[in-house]
Symmetry: C2
Amino acid sequence: MNFLEEKIVKDGIVKEGNVLKVDSFLNHQMDIELFNQMGAEWKKRFAGKNINKILTIEASGIGIACIAAQHFGVPVVFAKKSKSINLEGEMYTAEVESFTHKNKNKVIVSKKFLNENDHVLLIDDFLANGCALQGLIQIVQSAGATVEGIGIAVEKGFQSGGKIIRNLGYQLESLAIVESMDWETGSITFREE
Amino acid sequence: MNFLEEKIVKDGIVKEGNVLKVDSFLNHQMDIELFNQMGAEWKKRFAGKNINKILTIEASGIGIACIAAQHFGVPVVFAKKSKSINLEGEMYTAEVESFTHKNKNKVIVSKKFLNENDHVLLIDDFLANGCALQGLIQIVQSAGATVEGIGIAVEKGFQSGGKIIRNLGYQLESLAIVESMDWETGSITFREE
């Protein structure tokens, strides 16, 4: 097990319905030293890639992306979730369905902060069905920019998102891929690398 | 002028209606090196304070809080905005009015991540009328925890938030306090320290 898998086993909580709660260190309370290790690991896995910007999505991707950005020496842009149509200025938009909240959000990024010269690393905390990530990819493509890679903290390997994204040819680096969970025993099985 | 005031003069945009756009470096695209300088400055201003946790509010406070947290060696908790009443588990809640969006949000923090032993530094990107901040203070008080200080990037000194918070006796450290703006000339006047 790597450092993130060990942390998940130690502090993650498995709940009924294939729910994995990691809110004590990843997406409500945030363990900054852990994020730093994650950033260092992505830097290693994306070595040699020409990355000049990190793109993430509010809210729980932002902290991870900012700490990771220090390892790449690049700025971060976060896509905003918005239900309003009254967008000031010119925006790239994509529609994203939330697995957790069962609703649709419009995701927006100002055209000022993404263009055809950008080589983008996408960062997010979770990958399940991949809807949020596909929204971010769509936004990068609308800008004529290049997705150089995708860094995810926790992937639910038993859902389709990871497979879809890898089949599209992207370098997807999930630091922990959960193959199965058992809420009655609390056990978690990770994909072998 | 300090480093943040210089950045605001260089890259901020003054718009009609006392609107200051800092989305190229603070709250949409994020300048991580700038955040690092802000963190170092707060560490200096809150020297000697016993701080074991940073509390912020989604979304644009999160990046600043995470980078600042590295200077204090503490975890970050971010309060979530939620319109849903169906809250899983036990939550501290406060109601917060948004100046920008003219709506009310419920702000929530899990009781697991804040208790009477916590000495909290509040961090946010903007302070105008102070509603978001008062929500965070209310949550810290509900937990029986202590507000050790408040770090703000940009305070609108011509609105009442800063005065209210200082009158309540809190150590409020805003790194740039805008006294006035003129959207026709683009000029910005800062409060002298």
